[in-house]
Each structure stands twice: as C-alpha cells, then as structure tokens.
C-alpha cells in the first residue's frame, strides 16, 4: 500500500539524517539517533493520526530523542567537545578552506540554531514547518535561523556588516564574492555543455 506509515518513514529518512547530523555534529551519533528515532516512531505509530503532518511528527520524535539522550549523557560527556572535523567535506576546489571554516563555525553554533538553519537552508523548510517540527513558535523559528546566519557571518566574514570599514571583513567578503562568481561561471559552463 503506497504512502503507508512505513513508506512515509522510509521516505523521510534522508531528512532525518540531515537533522540528526545538524544536532549531533557526528556521523556515527547521527546514525544512532536516526535509528533510535525510527524505533520510537514504530513503537508509537498508533498515536500518529493519519492525514496530519507526518514529517513534523517524525522530526519532533527525533528532536525529543536527541534531548533525552543529551540529558542522559550530560553527566559524563561535554557535548561541545566535538572535533572540528565533524563536518569535514571532500570539496575539490579552492573553496575547500572556506568550507572547512564553515564546518568549524557550524560546530560552534548552539544545537537549536544549527538545526533550524540546516532545516530551512538545506531542506527548504518553511518557517511554519520548522516551528511545527521543532515544537516552537514561528517567531522563535525565524529568530533561530536569523541568529545562526548572523553569527556565521560574524565569524566567517570577520564582523557584522555594519563594520564595513573593517579591512579584513571587506577582504573576506571580496573572497567570498569571487568564489561565488567562479561557482556561478562553472555552473553556467556546465549548463552550456549539458
């Protein structure tokens, strides 16, 4: 039967993985978290009301499981003591360094902001959907994304845009802009070839 409860679980797995990695900052922990969340969802499937928002229900289960795990481990583990290589990527070009910086900066963001930013920017979730999935007000969801983006800009460009007189900020903004132009040019060349 298409779109059964189990089909919906399988369909949402990629998004759960992304959410789990955003929360845990660790691939192995993210896999464990997804598996735990799926187990919880299967056990609680009778409580899901068909026709209601399945993705939001599933994202909330994963989030609650993360919080529950965090509480259990708090006594023995420093959750912020995570290697900066957690979000390491295999980017091939000169932007590898900038991506490495982005990966490091992401690990420094609070978990709720990191999760919100990734769900909106990577998964294309609306603020309303994010609010439902993370069990908060729409204003809170917007604020988390805004603060995450603002904080990353401050760390990666060097400061907030108000300080445009800052030479380092201007230089890094220029570097980002050049990297972006190169990527756009590459993409256009790719389209022409295709």
């Amino acid at each position: 039967m298409p779109n059964s409860f189990h089909d919906q679980v399988i369909t949402i797995l990629p998004k759960l993985r992304v959410q789990a990695l955003a929360l845990t900052r660790n691939r192995a922990a993210a896999e464990d978290l997804v598996q735990d969340a799926v187990c919880n969802a299967l056990s609680a499937q009778a409580s899901f009301i068909p026709g209601t928002n399945f993705p939001a229900w599933m994202h909330r289960i994963l989030r609650n499981r993360f919080i529950s795990n965090l509480r259990k481990r708090r006594d023995t583990t420093d959750i912020d003591d995570v290697p900066a290589s957690t979000f390491a990527t295999e980017a091939p070009h000169e932007d590898r360094l900038a991506l490495k910086d982005l990966g490091k900066a992401m690990t420094r963001l609070p978990a709720d902001q990191r999760e919100a930013l990734v769900m909106v920017v990577v998964q294309g979730m609306s603020y309303e959907a994010l609010a439902e999935a993370t069990d908060c007000a729409v204003g809170t969801a917007k604020s988390r994304v805004f603060r995450a983006r603002r904080q990353l800009e401050a760390w990666l460009i060097g400061d907030t845009p108000e300080r445009s007189d800052d030479r380092a900020a201007a230089a890094r903004a220029s570097m980002l802009s050049r990297a972006l132009d190169a990527q756009i040019a590459d993409a256009r060349r790719g389209h022409r070839v295709a």
């Binding site: 059964s4 189990h6 679980v9 399988i10 797995l13 990629p14 998004k15 993985r17 992304v18 990695l21 955003a22 691939r27 993210a30 896999e31 997804v34 598996q35 799926v38 187990c39 299967l42 979000f87 990527t89 295999e90 980017a91 932007d95 900038a98 991506l99 982005l102 990966g103 992401m106 930013l117 990734v118 909106v120 920017v121 990577v122 603020y127 917007k142 604020s143 994304v145 805004f146 983006r149 990353l152 800009e153 990666l156 460009i157 845009p161 445009s164 903004a173 980002l176 802009s177 990297a179 972006l180 990527q183």
Partner: protein, 61 residues
C-alpha cells in the same frame, strides 16, 4: 531586526546600502551552497540494511 528574518537566507533583500546588500546576498548564496556541500552527501547515502530491515520487519508484524 525588523523584517531581517522574514525570509530564509538566500532570499534576503533588505533595505540598506548597496554594498551591504551585495555582501549579504553573496554570503547567503555562499552559505546555502556550502551547507548543501556539507549535508547533501549525508542525505544521499543509502539506507543502512539494519535500519531498512527494522522498518520492513515492523511492517510485516
């Protein structure tokens, strides 16, 4: 922060200086691409057999 967080990053168009808008816009696009590079691989990985079996076993139960 009025209105500054009304649109997801990548869709920002705030009032202010042209220079600031350019930096914001370039940063948002770069951030969007960077996050996709970091997270898309994870999303595209195949479902582990153990997890798939867990779901299928429950379906058949």
């Amino acid at each position: 922060m009025t209105g500054a967080n009304d649109r997801p990053p990548g869709e920002r168009s705030q009032p202010g200086s042209t220079g600031r808008r350019k930096v914001d816009s370039a940063f948002d696009l770069w951030l969007q691409r960077g996050l996709h590079k970091i997270f898309d691989d994870v999303a595209n990985e195949p479902v582990p057999d153990e997890l798939r079996k867990l779901i299928e076993d429950d379906r058949e139960a």
